[in-house]
Amino acid sequence: MDTLFKIAWRSLWRNKRRTLITTASVFLAVFLALFMRSMQIGSYEIMINSVVTEVGHIQVHDSGYWESKSINDSFVFSKSLKEKIESHENVTSVIPRFETFALGSFGEMTKGLMIQGIVPSMEDPRKKISNKLIEGRFLTEKDNGIVLAEGLASYFNIGINDTIALIGSGYQGITAAGLFPVVGIIKYPVPKLNNFIAYMSMSKVQEVFSPYHSNLISTLVVDLRDGDNLAHKADDINQILGTKYEVLGWRKMLPDVVQQIDGDNAGGIFMLAILYIIVAFGIFGTILMMTLERRKEFAIMVAVGMHRRKLAIVVFFETIFIGMMGVIAGIIASLPLLKYLYHHPIPLQGEMAKMMLEFNMEPFMPFSLDTYIFSNQGIAIFAIAGLTSLYPIIYVVRFRILRAMRS
């Protein structure tokens, strides 16, 4: 095998310039592909992280809640229910929420808002809501106050220690109403949230919206150790809990996000495919020339006793070497740059930044260093090299010795 390696390797360098140009094209393709994919995957990661932070990997509701979003599809949160969910090996935390809607009023102003009843000690460490405070303080466990998003506060022209009136429909049709002092104002970069959301302590929301049923909640946010095979894990948990509950992964709850990622991803892959097709023709051109100009040499090798199979291995090695050199050079060259950009993402401005904010993401161009981005490029190039080596392999298997010797 070592001589076959030697022949393949040295044959490449018989025409140094040609080999270097081909390798450079592979290098450039890998470099561009890595840069592009790292940026794409990085933005998906940010997108997914932001989604997972907001809704969790998985949510448990009363059956039908996600469709109805009705307070009447709430359920009782118990210790045993929590323990059942936590019995799944992948679950890291189970956090209750009571999400509902109400009409808020202050002075002359009235507006619909979403109220999220939370357990501050559980919710704040994962969502870092208190970091978004621009005024006042964050909620405590038994807080009677309310934290408003800045857009809402501006709309109502309300400040800290002012009192907002809320009125809405409680559990099983009761009227839920009350006056709540504003204890804090937070600012969300995403206008949709900034103009719509308010936080209250779980105990207060339950007291107002379901005074006759203790421990009622709308949602259990379940965080997992890893978010792979989400549907499978959701099914597992659903099996543990039974059909009274619906267990949904974020992909199922937010299909528009999934669709956006998939669409963008498909576009990226299409671009890569074009790039790699161009590279494939580059490699093929070189391999074709290397094959045609060595027809006589191949014939002599077979004439003196070399099996065509071994000759096929030689030409296969040649294509793989070209691909390998390009891939390794591409990875070595891109790695420091991607590493830098991973730690120092590019800040975005203008329309792009606005668009990112609309998707609840920080306005940065993030990069990913996921190993599969690198391994995928390697696999793609090796697959291309393997494909382009088919021509010389077929040639060496089929050529006629004497005709090739006369060439």
């Binding site: 070592d2 001589t3 022949i7 090798m301 006793g305 070399m306 099996h307 065509r308």
Partner: protein, 228 residues
């Protein structure tokens, strides 16, 4: 052993509209240790004959038996192995592998035979010493003169310890000095190793050294002279 028995050998090229009879019924026996020159004008069928004997071309009719084995009946893979282990080739244009050194070119044949690295390198060095270029074993063909390349080619042909060596116009590209040196070398190998040599040639110097001269014209043997 190493007896080549050729009977009623024909080769007709019928790829064009008019079929060409390159070999038109040759019967011949070549014994072990012969030093034979196949001579004849261009287009007489020498090379076609040699190609068929070497298993590089398939006869249209007739058979070639080497030690009782009809090589025309061997399947392609076995034929390659047969060539590897029984036939050495020396070509007019040397045809060494340009990316391998002289030693690697010679050792390559033994590697195909499955010999170990140390053994094949040792034999390759010895063979290159024998053919007189022991000081150039690390040079690639491009760094060697025509005569030196042909010596490497002879060493390569001998490396597999073949029963016979087929040499197609081996001196055509060599000057007189190199031709004489090469022929002396081949004669020496013929005597010392009892290897059969079969040349196709136009070269009078080769004919002078050959012990048997077979003349082919229009695909048939017109004379077969055994020298004393």
């Amino acid at each position: 052993m190493g007896v080549i028995k050729i009977s009623n050998l024909h080769k007709i090229y019928d790829e064009s509209k008019i079929p060409v009879k390159a070999v038109n019924g040759i019967d011949l026996t070549i014994k072990q240790g012969e030093f034979t020159a196949i001579v004849g004008p261009s287009g007489s069928g020498k090379t076609t004959f040699l190609n068929m004997v070497g298993g590089l071309d398939v006869p249209s009719k007739g058979k070639i038996e080497i030690d009782g084995i009809n090589i025309g009946n061997l399947p392609p893979r076995q034929l390659i192995d047969y060539r590897l282990n029984n036939i050495g080739f020396v070509f007019q244009a040397y045809n060494l592998i340009p990316v391998l050194t002289a030693q690697e070119n010679v050792a390559f044949i033994m590697q195909l035979q499955g010999k170990g690295k140390n053994e094949r390198n040792k034999i390759a060095r010895e063979l290159l010493e024998t053919v007189g270029i022991g000081d150039k074993i690390d040079r690639r063909p491009g760094d060697l003169s025509g005569g030196q390349q042909q010596r490497v080619s002879v060493a390569r042909a001998l490396a597999s310890k073949p029963k016979f060596i087929l040499a197609d116009e081996p001196t055509a590209n060599l000057d007189s000095k190199s031709t004489n040196e090469l022929l002396d070398l081949m004669l020496k190998m013929n005597k010392e190793l009892d290897t059969t040599f079969i040349f196709s040639t136009h070269d009078q110097r080769v004919m002078d050294k050959a012990r048997r001269i077979i003349t082919i014209d229009d695909g048939i043997i017109t004379s077969d002279v055994q020298k004393n």
